[in-house]
């Protein structure tokens, strides 16, 4: 027995020691930092040798901040053009790579650090001419050339980031100027309005990728292989949990950058699965900023009158809407039924109940922040009119009941919207069989067309405020049958809006689109929703346009 007790005690002690002895090799531990940093620098070339130790006192009052988010895949691979887990792709891309274009959070304008200038060719309106600056360098010392731009765009097209839109890029006829390796001629298949959205991925170093296994074998999960022209290098990485970025001393743009642009020496990113844990860590100071907050978290921070830091609410530039599957179920051919559904839904009440302080009732299928928004395209709740329209439907068709199906994804606001919609329909006299399923299952059923309604509600918002990103799901080619409109009129409008670069013409077209959806009772605008983030006193200023793909360069200590 003594032996057994001794064995148990020894086992307990051994397990305790093993558990408390530190984390795995890839975990973030302070001891591991120099080694990881050295490894990254060694692999990225001589020019980054002093990056980890570098500190410019003029540029950094606060040297280290930690950001937390509940965004899925917030921390992941290091491929700025990867089709998968794009959230982490963007967060990391903004810090380690230079996008061709990005949106300035203060002005909302498209700007570029790496381009000298860009313009449409005077003779060919489908050709975009981009000229690189001659002082852009990757972290391994290579100069960025137009060949790298070409390679990056080709990767994006191959990897199918925004696949439909990249179909408008003709990579075969996109070429580097034979006389100037800093100039790229980007050929589109047609005039193309939302071209800027195709230019916001980080530029990769083609020769570096080729040297390290090529496109097929390059390890995008290895932090030591990150080689961008951006201001930060990766020093620690635990996949799915945390990443640490260190400001590079030899960043090519350093002398030109404003004092509050990329001024933090060390940025730690932490991914959380649970929003409660995120807020506890924020309130206890474990993290300095929390992004992607709920309405109750924002209210809690605002109620604390500054003691919990600053909560910032920004528009998502997206309108959540309930879409009727008009071309998926012939029952919707009857206008009176569609009218009954649209007038019988109290969208204002749904918006208030679901989004709380982070939402406003929608007044159109486009958000008010869109340059093409027009007011007056939302339905006013009128139960009596809805019931009368339903009676007209019964009279016209001889039916005496309506049974519809609504498949919604669980775990988010969509399920709440769907539940409330079901209740409103019950009041009208329409039975909605509501199926709330996990995202993977729901997606399968949406593709099969096994639902009569869809909720169009971009999880990531619309950081570029590009109208195409709101309306793309209504096109005939959309994979979700209840979303796709097959009508010639609406499809020609959507195509025309996309294919013009004339903003006046675009405004006219998108007004017609808003009018079309309203007149035909096809889409119920529910809410314009906002997103929120918060930061404590460690950070003096933090400007974001997006909380799931934040550009963390706009932070000051």
């Amino acid at each position: 027995m003594k032996k057994f007790v001794a064995f148990m005690l020894a086992l307990a002690m051994m397990l305790s020691l093993a558990a408390c002895g530190g984390s795995s090799s890839s975990d973030s531990s302070s001891d591991a930092q120099p080694a990881a940093s050295e490894s990254a620098e060694a692999n990225a070339g001589d020019s980054t040798d002093s990056s980890a130790e570098s500190a410019d006192p003029d540029r950094a009052a606060t040297t280290e901040v930690t950001i937390g988010s509940t965004g899925a895949n917030f921390v992941g691979h290091f491929d700025p053009d990867g089709v998968f887990s794009t959230e982490c792709g963007y967060v990391m891309s903004y810090l380690c790579y230079d996008p061709i274009l990005y949106t300035d959070p203060e002005t909302g304008e498209w700007v570029s650090d790496i381009l000298e200038e860009y313009h449409w060719d005077e003779e060919d309106e489908t050709k975009l001419v981009m000229t690189l600056r001659d002082d852009v360098y990757f972290s391994n010392g290579d100069q960025m050339t137009a060949e790298d731009l070409w390679y990056t765009l080709a990767r994006c097209a191959d990897l199918m980031v925004y696949s439909t839109l990249y179909a408008y890029v003709d990579m075969d006829d996109t070429y580097v100027d034979p006389d100037n390796d800093l100039v790229l001629y980007m050929q589109f298949t047609d005039t193309f309005g939302p071209y800027e959205t195709l230019l916001r991925n980080g530029v990769v170093n083609e020769s570096w990728i080729e040297e390290n296994g090529g496109e097929e074998n390059f390890d995008w999960f290895d932090p030591s292989l990150v080689c961008g022209s951006g201001p930060y290098a990766v020093t620690e990485f635990t996949n799915g949990i945390s990443t640490t970025f260190q400001l590079r001393d030899d960043w090519w743009y350093k002398d030109e950058a404003d004092a509050d642009y990329c001024s933090i020496q060390t940025i730690n990113i932490k991914q959380y699965s649970d929003s409660n844990t995120l807020m506890v860590d924020y309130e206890t100071g474990t993290i300095d900023a929390a992004v992607n907050l709920s309405a109750s978290d924002v209210d809690s921070i605002n109620d604390a009158a500054g003691s919990k830091g600053t909560a910032v609410t920004i528009p998502s530039n997206y309108t959540a809407a309930i879409v009727l599957g008009v071309d998926n179920n012939s029952i919707f051919d009857n206008m009176n039924l569609r009218k009954a559904i649209c007038l019988g839904t109290d969208a204002d009440a749904i918006a208030t109940a679901v989004y709380g302080s982070l939402g406003d009732p929608a007044t159109s299928t486009l958000p008010t922040s869109s340059p093409y928004y027009k007011a007056g395209y939302a339905y006013t709740y009128d139960l009596e009119a809805a019931q009368a329209a339903l009676a007209d439907y019964y009279a016209e068709t001889g039916e005496n009941s309506v049974n519809l199906t609504f498949v919604a994804a669980s775990g988010g606001v969509d399920a709440e919207i769907a539940e409330l919609f079901q209740a409103y329909m019950e009041a009208v006299g329409i039975t909605v069989d509501l199926q709330i399923l996990d995202q993977g299952t729901a997606v399968g059923m949406w593709i099969e067309g096994a639902t009569d309604f869809m909720i169009n509600n971009s999880a990531n918002g619309n950081s570029t405020n590009e109208v195409t990103n709101v309306y793309e799901h209504y096109e005939s080619t959309d994979v979700f049958k209840a979303d796709a409109r097959q009508g010639e009129e609406i499809n020609s409008l959507l195509t025309a809006g996309r294919l013009t670069v004339d903003t006046t013409e675009r405004a006219s077209i998108y007004e017609q689109v808003q009018q079309y959806f309203y007149d035909n009772y096809e889409v119920i605008p529910v809410a314009e929703w906002n997103v929120a983030y918060a930061y404590n006193d460690t950070i003096s200023e933090m400007s974001l346009l997006d909380v799931t793909r934040p550009n963390l360069r706009f932070m000051a200590g």
């Binding site: 027995m1 057994f4 086992l11 307990a12 397990l15 305790s16 093993a18 558990a19 408390c20 984390s23 795995s24 890839s26 975990d27 973030s28 531990s29 899925a72 992941g76 691979h77 089709v83 998968f84 887990s85 199918m160 925004y162 696949s163 439909t164 179909a167 995008w220 999960f221 635990t238 996949n239 799915g240 949990i241 932490k270 991914q271 959380y272 699965s273 649970d274 409660n276 844990t277 995120l278 506890v280 860590d281 309130e283 206890t284 474990t286 399923l437 996990d438 995202q439 993977g440 299952t441 997606v443 399968g444 059923m445 593709i447 793309e472 799901h473 096109e475 080619t477 994979v479 979700f480």
Partner: protein, 320 residues
């Protein structure tokens, strides 16, 4: 063990295949794409082949090369993804069980030997309360109290010994109740046996009677429960890992399921199955370690063989 693992592979692969949802769509996202692009991605992922071919290739890859495949969602090698997280989950699970055993066995014994006293009632009520508490609630309350209000312990991550306290405590408290109750009932059964009465009649001190004569015999069902708990804690680590943002296999599994990432689901399930099989083996060995009767069965078999051999040798000698 091998047939069990093969069975697990076949069942999980089939269930994954039958799950609604499309991994190609999950990879492509909800943006528009053409049928050609869909077909190309499906082909790259090997999903354009018949079910049996897909399953056969996967199983052959695992058996012949130990290749768990490549994640559909991240393109990363599944064994690498799991390797980064496996030991985190195992370490957390084993530590939780160690804490469970250290607390539940003594309290179970105490409850048994003080049966129908205030001590017994307090321990029993405590065990029932613990058994009734959902794990996620316990975890959230722990975070609010010890991290937010008192500021003693960190709420997330796993980078120092302090980070282990809350998740291990939550895991251990959930498992504590059943082990404590099992120890108590098992001890009650044993201490009523004649040989315990005999031991007491011999004048042995009560401590010796309980520890040497009763506990050893009562440990068999406790070991069974503890073995099952190790498997449950490791397999069901998702809640605690999610709440405490721990980079373990639980979170990997959930992400894999949500993304219909079949290779990831298969890889994690296979690793957990291997671990459960090993734990069952360890439990069997523990039986033999604590119970001489079980040990005797095995050693008895070899003695019989020896005796037969000796007898055969004797007969051969006589004949000669």
């Amino acid at each position: 063990m091998i047939p069990v693992l093969l069975g697990v592979l076949v069942i999980v692969f089939s269930l994954s295949y039958l799950m609604p949802g499309d991994p190609v769509v999950n990879k492509l996202g909800t943006s528009n794409y053409t049928q050609e692009q869909y077909d190309q991605v499906a082909s790259e992922m090997g999903l354009d082949q018949p079910f049996l071919v897909q399953m056969g290739k996967y199983i052959w890859g695992v058996v012949s090369e130990g290749n768990l495949g490549t994640s559909y969602q991240t393109n990363q090698d599944v064994s690498k993804s799991i390797g980064e997280r496996f030991w985190v989950t195992i370490r957390l699970g084993l530590l939780s069980v160690a804490v469970t055993v250290i607390f539940s066995v003594p309290f179970g014994i105490l409850s048994a030997i003080k049966q129908k006293t205030a001590t017994d009632y307090i321990i029993t009520v405590f065990a029932v309360v613990l058994a009734s508490l959902p794990g996620f609630w316990l975890a959230l309350e722990g975070i609010i109290l010890f991290s937010l209000k008192l500021g003693w312990l960190p709420a997330s991550g796993l980078t120092s010994w302090k980070h282990y306290i809350l998740p291990v405590a939550c895991n251990a408290l959930m498992a504590l109740a059943s082990t404590m109750r099992m120890t108590r009932s098992s001890m009650l059964e044993v201490i009523r046996q004649d040989y315990i009465r005999t031991a007491r009649a011999k004048g042995l001190p009560e401590r010796v009677v309980i520890v040497r004569h009763a506990l050893r015999n009562a440990l068999i069902p406790v070991i069974t429960v503890v073995g099952a708990q190790v498997s449950m804690i490791v397999g069901g680590s998702v809640i605690i890992e999610s709440i405490f943002s721990i980079p373990g296999m639980g979170t990997l599994m959930v992400t894999g399921i949500n993304n219909r990432d079949y290779p990831m689901i298969m890889g994690v399930t296979l690793l957990i199955s291997v671990f459960v099989c090993i734990m069952n083996l360890v439990v069997d060995l523990c039986y033999a370690a604590v119970d001489p009767r079980i040990r005797a069965q095995f050693s008895g078999g070899s003695k019989k063989k020896k005796r037969k051999a000796v007898a055969a040798a004797g007969k051969a000698g006589e004949q000669a």
